[in-house]
Symmetry: C2
Subunit: 200 residues, 2 copies
């Protein structure tokens, strides 16, 4: 256990990128995934969605945690013109997503939720991502050689499309990868001075 | 060979991070390192240093390139208050660096140089990096568990210190890692419409 981490984490997410980020930062954790309905309440503002879904995911993992473990859940949304750009379902949809993102900026918001017994913490981070122009050939190249389908917005910033076509970001890089690690660290520094849950 | 890359690269750098970035983006390349004097001309403006040293490194690799290979060299400098913050030589120097970087912003500039026969291309990118507060305990934790010594400025943005203590960046992430991949891609798209070298 690291001296700055008093409790092991249960990462309630199947995302390989979130797992890799926690590993890179040296956190002690194990993975335990749950299935969560990601439908949003009808009138929810798009910029509240990531934190809302992170909390829902965290609560859904309550039964998975072993004694002493802190649950960590996260959710990311890509926002373009005040609308959420989901994971693409088809090849054509992946292409439409990239054409919409090309040559302009969009937002990535990543929410986190940490739960421990009757205590919880949640927070959200926002990063602006700027894409340069993307030609049809480049878009199809990425769709056929990359992994657009499992990602909010339909692109991976750590893949070819991100490395070669994202010109700049404003905000935290790990937020774009799906887990704002600096916020997780801050939350753990504040533990156990967290909010109390109702069910406590 | 990728359809967007007409010639293989010779990466003239021993940096494992540059190698990893090129791999992640799917470039065809091999590594060939040279030793280069990194002393700067006395009156060189600090913001010209990265591109200047990238060009020097590229020229030093001319003899290493095989027929058909494009040489790619790069250099990064960390700039704080108009001064270059070098790689720390000692544990105490690593600590001083982190204390100087804490709770404020600095610049990372990464230059690239590409050479092919009598043609060349060079460019430079700049990213602003913001650190949150760093306690003495956190600084020593990183120095003793991380790898500050082989890095300009004495920190790795992909390590614990970067993931947990960098709050935001403005610019390209790969620039901070030492190789602005988007600029390399742009250079290759422009090939062979590059400048002519004198020795051509």
């Amino acid at each position: 256990m690291n001296q700055w981490q008093s409790h092991p984490l249960l990462l309630a997410s199947g995302s390989p990128r979130r797992k890799e980020l926690l590993e890179q930062a040296g956190f002690q954790f194990r993975v335990g995934q749950t299935d969560v309905d990601e439908t949003l309440p009808e009138k929810m503002p798009v910029r509240e969605a990531a934190e809302f879904l992170a909390i829902r995911k965290g609560k859904a993992a309550l039964d998975l945690a072993l004694k002493g473990e802190i649950i960590l859940a996260a959710d990311s949304v890509v926002i373009l013109d005040d609308l959420i750009l989901d994971k693409p379902g088809t090849r054509d949809q992946a292409y439409q997503h990239l054409m919409q993102l090309a040559d302009r900026s969009h937002e990535v918001m990543s929410g986190i939720c940490l739960l421990y017994e009757n205590l919880f913490w949640s927070d959200v981070a926002r990063t602006v991502v700027h894409f340069g122009p993307i030609s049809p050939e480049e878009a199809w190249w990425y769709i056929d050689h990359g992994q657009p389908y499992d990602k909010a917005g339909g692109y991976g910033i750590q893949e070819w499309i991100g490395l070669c076509k994202v010109t700049r970001i404003e905000g935290n890089y790990s937020t774009v990868l799906g887990l704002p690690v600096h916020l997780v660290y801050t939350a753990l520094q504040e533990f156990p001075n967290w909010s109390k849950t109702d069910q406590g």
